[in-house]
């Protein structure tokens, strides 16, 4: 936990510097007749972030904040595995939306999550993997008229468009 606190604070300090540099692309000073420049607001707030990060690091050195005193692990092995599987599966799902579309990615994600993490029966898994995309389609595409990305599967939806839209 102690190391993680420091690593996060340092990472955030670097992020603050990057944001300061980025916001300085627009004028950050006073422009006569116009008031503060467009970059001033984000610039000074990023400076605020940097000051806070340094403050957090100082507190870490002096061991005055609870995480900087904690000797517990930031994540034990079980949590780390759960986190990696969860975040990894989500990343894979969002990535695959670009290729096979939402209606390909949703069932795959559900099957993976329910079978591998949840150990649910195939019957349960299949039911949800079929129902969820159907409900999503009717709610978003038909009711809300929001077209979700379909990637390669786009041609499969032409008959459905003809039917419902």
């Amino acid at each position: 936990m102690r190391t993680a606190d420091l690593v996060m604070a340092i990472a955030m300090a670097f992020l603050s510097i990057a944001l300061m540099w980025k916001s300085a692309e627009l004028p950050i000073g006073w422009i006569p007749e116009e008031g503060p420049g467009g970059g001033a607001f984000p610039f000074w707030l990023s400076t605020g972030m940097l000051v806070c990060s340094i403050w957090i690091i100082l507190r870490w050195i002096r061991r005055t904040s609870p995480p900087s005193r904690s000797s517990e692990p930031y994540m034990d092995k079980g949590s780390l595995v759960l986190f990696l599987i969860g975040a990894g599966a989500l990343t894979a799902m969002v990535g695959s939306i670009h290729i096979i579309g939402v209606y390909g990615a949703i069932p795959l994600f559900l099957i993976f999550y329910m079978r591998v993490i949840g150990n649910h029966s195939w019957l349960m898994t299949t039911c949800l993997a079929v129902i969820t995309p159907v409900v999503t389609f009717f709610f978003f595409e038909i009711a809300l008229k929001i077209t979700l990305p379909k990637g390669l599967t786009e041609p499969l939806f032409y008959p459905l468009y003809d039917m419902f839209l």
């Binding site: 607001f41 949590s79 949840g118």
Partner: protein, 503 residues
């Protein structure tokens, strides 16, 4: 009398068949979300906001308001049955609710919680009805210096009263405001903070992307981790006779309930405080006022009634500054406020002038939601208990999918979905290190207004910060804000001095 006429109009809106249906649906969904361990009103409202594009704005906010209410009722269910708070707002309910359940009085605890929530909700909506119009009238006179100082005051409450690590709270506020500035400069129209030249940044970072990231993805990752151990569900046998018995015994808890309602309402108004501290304070006060405080923590029904009344009252309280001043009183109302912007309504006092039927429809719907929440809660307790048995490995992936699709809906850009995923993962990692997340959500919602009002104020005064102190109302806000910022420092000095005199 004016108010009563407006309220009557509001009821006419709220009782329209579609709106009534939305209230019932919202309350039911809210109760389910509240009952799920770990998920509360803020998660429900963030994840389901994109779904409300289906109905007109008044219907949408009525639905979300009903979810807010329902979730406050529902939080008690898992606190009592599992001993795990359904949401942070129901933490105090576990103290006596769980012991009651273990003694075989789960049904009584549930009925007490539902009735206390109802009384808390009713008292707070009454207070709201009569407080809101005069406050909105005062706020109509505000111009940019007052607006900015008021927002500073809202952020200052997080420092002075939030109780989280101070540099981390400040960091959270700053990063939220910086994120709100991505996109086009509001005044000059120039693009700014366009990272790596990605076109997705031109439309800015939508507040829902951050809100769903934090309260959807981040929260579920958190819950998956914290619920990996087994849970023990209490038994509750509910018959009509036992419910009536339960209702009869609420007389004993009436005093604590009323106290909790008033306390919760006023604590709820403060942006940083809200339902969680409100309910904890109500528990503390109920205990100290009790004739036998030693029975608290061992299954005293007053320990269930006070916090439950307080958290419902606080949810109404937090709507007061949102509707009248445009400053949300809680993370949930911050998301509602952002939603109002999507629906094309400008939050703040002008709502009471320009969109009367919207405001009063919402207020009236709170009365209706409160009644339905009580009825549905008591009638379907077994169904909500069943929810607790639902394995999280089914709920989690479905909520993840709702987040991803819901995050895509407002801007229809995959860029935002990726951003949301990154925010969710980073928020989860930061939350483990005690970085508070609510200030960042409030900041991204208020950011554009804060920046505009700051720049306009400085333009009026030609760059001098004295503009915030020359005007009486702004000056009062500034002084309170500075005092709140200074509060933790003063506490620290006091502690050091005490330490010295003792050591």
């Amino acid at each position: 009398m004016d108010i009563l006429a407006l309220l009557a109009d509001g009821f006419w809106v709220a009782l329209q068949p579609q709106n009534l249906l939305l209230v019932v649906l919202g309350v039911t969904v809210g109760l389910f979300i509240g009952a799920m361990p770990g998920l509360g009103s803020v998660n429900g409202v963030a994840i389901l906001l994109p779904m409300t594009f289906l109905v007109p704005p008044t219907g949408a906010i009525i639905f979300l308001g009903a979810i807010y209410y329902g979730a406050m009722y529902g939080g008690a269910i898992s606190s009592i049955m599992l001993g795990i708070p359904g949401a942070s707002t129901a933490v105090a309910t576990t103290f006596d609710g769980r012991p009651m359940a273990l003694q075989g009085n789960a049904d009584r605890a549930l009925v007490t919680a539902a009735i206390a929530s109802f009384i808390g909700g009713t008292i707070s909506v009454l207070l709201f009805t009569f407080f809101a119009p005069p406050l909105a009238n005062v706020a109509l006179a505000f111009s940019s210096p007052e607006e900015f100082s008021l927002m500073l005051l809202a952020f200052a409450t997080f420092i002075g009263l939030g109780g989280d690590d101070i540099p981390k709270t400040l960091f959270s506020i700053c990063i939220g405001l910086v994120m709100s500035s991505v996109g086009l400069d509001l005044i000059s129209g120039q693009p700014r903070m366009i990272f790596f030249g990605l076109p997705g940044f031109f439309h800015g970072i939508h507040f829902l992307v951050l809100a769903i990231g934090i309260y959807g993805i981040g929260e579920i990752l958190w819950t998956v981790e914290s619920s990996k151990g087994g849970m023990k569900l209490s038994q509750a046998t509910l018959t009509l006779r036992r419910i009536i018995q339960g209702i009869k015994t609420t007389k004993e808890t009436f005093k604590a309930t009323v106290m909790g309602s008033f306390l919760g309402y006023f604590v709820g108004i403060l942006p940083a405080a809200g339902a969680t501290p409100g309910s904890l304070m109500a528990y503390g006060v109920a205990k100290s006022l009790s004739k036998n405080p030693e029975t608290f923590g061992k299954g005293n029904p007053n320990g269930v009634a006070a916090p439950e009344a307080a958290n419902n009252a606080a949810s109404t309280g937090s709507m007061l500054p949102m509707l009248t001043l445009g400053i949300p009183g809680s993370p949930t109302t911050a998301i509602l406020l952002g939603g109002m912007v999507i629906w094309g309504l400008e939050p703040g006092p002008m709502l009471f002038v320009e969109h009367k039927s919207f405001v009063w429809g919402l207020i009236a719907s709170l009365y209706v939601a409160n009644l339905f929440a009580l009825l549905i809660n008591v009638a379907f307790i077994p169904a909500f208990v069943w929810v607790l048995k639902l394995p999280f490995t089914i709920l989690a992936p479905i909520i993840f999918i709702l987040c991803i699709v819901g995050g895509y809906a407002p801007t229809q850009d995959m860029h935002d979905v990726w951003l949301m995923l990154i925010f969710g993962v980073v928020a989860y990692l930061m939350r483990k290190l005690d970085y508070p997340m609510a200030p960042a959500v409030l900041a991204i919602v208020l950011g554009p207004l804060a920046e505009t009002s700051l720049r306009q104020s400085l333009l009026i005064s030609d760059g001098s910060f004295s503009v915030f102190f020359d005007r009486p109302i702004a000056c009062v806000f500034m002084i309170i804000a500075i005092a709140l910022f200074a509060l933790p420092v003063l506490n620290l000095i006091k502690k050091r001095l005490m330490h010295k005199t003792h050591g």
